[in-house]
């Protein structure tokens, strides 16, 4: 059985200064409970690699206002005004990367691929300083693989081995992030017996998952709300 932890105990695997891969697209597929624990913790100077920084005061947005973040690397931070403010004041470093490049670089980080040449962004400001290569007459830019110290991801269910399935578009970055960090902690709504998923259903095979934590939120009206 994959080691099941209570959320607070999961934090022992995260150190100040770590690079965290955090699943989610906006708030969907975000490990809200683990983020709450991080907010309460003494960890700081974290680098977060995630598509967004949640919303103002929600998800990763909480971690930002709690002053835990040194740097955010992702594709879209504009909608969280706190992120824009923190960046303007020089309190947060931001590294912008196209969404598809982000997903692919993380996949490569998990796949033993050192880097790749993508057409996305060739000839733009985001390609400045990056190696360019012409392959079969087309321009590509080099992108290095991305890895994290710890990945905190959100899945719908885990089985007792650690196999994961996801909820609709809450899947997003979670499966690739599960492959690309030294320690992978999956937050799930429910843990079921091994054998509950067919071999075809499993999206993240258990070998990627180190620890499983049960989500403390409840879903009501299609949204996760804090359980009281």
């Amino acid at each position: 059985m994959k080691k099941r932890l209570n959320p607070a105990n999961a934090l022992q695997f995260i150190k100040s200064g770590d690079t965290l891969l955090v699943g989610g697209f906006g708030l969907s597929g975000t490990p809200l409970t683990l983020i709450d624990e991080l907010v309460k913790s003494d960890k700081e100077n974290l680098t977060v690699i995630s598509n967004n920084l949640g919303e103002e005061g929600k998800g990763l947005g909480k971690l930002l206002v709690a002053g835990k973040l040194k740097k955010a690397k992702g594709s879209y931070f504009t909608t969280n005004r706190d992120a824009v403010k923190a960046w303007s004041k020089g309190e947060l470093e931001i590294e912008l990367i196209p969404q598809g490049t982000l997903a692919e670089a993380i996949r490569c980080g998990g796949a033993g691929i050192g880097g790749f040449y993508t057409k996305t962004g060739a000839g733009t400001k985001l390609a400045e300083g990056k190696e360019e290569k012409v392959i079969d007459g087309e321009s590509y830019i080099f992108e290095k693989a991305i890895k994290g110290d710890v990945a905190i991801i959100k899945a719908l269910k885990a089985d007792t081995l650690g196999n994961l399935i996801y909820d609709k578009t809450a899947r997003n970055f979670n499966p690739v992030m599960a492959t690309a960090a030294k320690v992978v902690i999956a937050e799930v709504d429910e843990v079921v017996e091994a054998g509950s998923f067919t071999p075809e259903e499993v999206v993240t095979p258990h070998l990627y998952v180190d620890y499983v934590v049960v989500n403390q939120y409840v879903k009501k009206g299609g949204r996760y709300i804090e359980s009281i």
Partner: protein
């Protein structure tokens, strides 16, 4: 920008989409295109991991884990499929999307698009814009003809940061439809009672008028 102009643009773009096409719709005007497809069935791809995106669900069926790339609740069509972000951008970058309909801040006369950043302003978002520009088989820009401050959006040369070297195929505004072909811009038809002279005035870019160009009123 008026609602009727937005609808006019959306309707005109809808005409361009072919039955059975795979389409990715950007934020803004593109998101209302599905309302004007009538009986035409296209398959909407959403870059957060869904092919076969359906209409907004009723309030009772809203699930914030079934959302569009604009983070709005959606539904799934029959035959839809779900996948992760790397597989989604494999589709986009790999040339498997027939048509991307995107908004733009500027388009130059060769069809090069700027749709992610305003010079001098904080640039903290790019999202999937550049991937769509790089990878979609056909790129249609749906945009108001002028920017909010009244300056031309269709320009000789981009002053805003480019979204990629890959050119748009078409731009649809409330006034006109232009096509890009081998680095040149052609007026295909007008969509308002604007004269060609007036259109030239509000279009910084140089465009060619063809004999077959459909001019609504002149």
């Amino acid at each position: 920008m008026s609602l009727s102009d937005r609808i006019k643009i959306a309707k005109r773009v809808a005409q361009e989409l072919k039955e059975g096409e795979i389409v990715n719709l950007g934020v803004g005007i593109p998101t209302i295109i599905p309302d004007y497809l009538d009986d035409k069935k296209v398959y909407l791809q959403s870059e957060n991991g869904l092919l076969g995106m359906g209409p907004t669900p009723s309030d009772d069926d809203i699930d914030m884990d079934l959302i569009s790339a604009s983070k709005k609740p959606v539904s799934m069509d029959k035959g839809a499929s779900l996948f992760d972000s790397s597989d989604s951008f494999l589709m986009i970058r790999g040339g498997h999307i027939d048509t991307a309909v995107l908004g733009a801040l500027q388009v130059d006369e060769t069809g090069e698009v700027a749709n992610w950043a305003v010079p001098g302003e904080t640039i903290l978002g790019v999202g999937g814009a550049m991937d769509l520009v790089a990878g979609a088989r056909r790129m249609i820009i749906a945009s108001m003809h002028l920017s909010k401050d009244g300056s031309p959006k269709i320009v000789k040369k981009l002053s805003f940061p480019s979204s990629g070297t890959r050119k748009a195929d078409m731009i649809v505004t409330e006034h006109a439809v232009f096509q890009f072909l081998e680095g040149k811009m052609y007026l295909i038809e007008t969509l308002s009672d604007v004269s060609i002279e007036a259109l030239r005035e509000m279009t910084d870019a140089e465009f060619h008028v063809l004999e077959k160009t459909k001019v609504e009123t002149n």
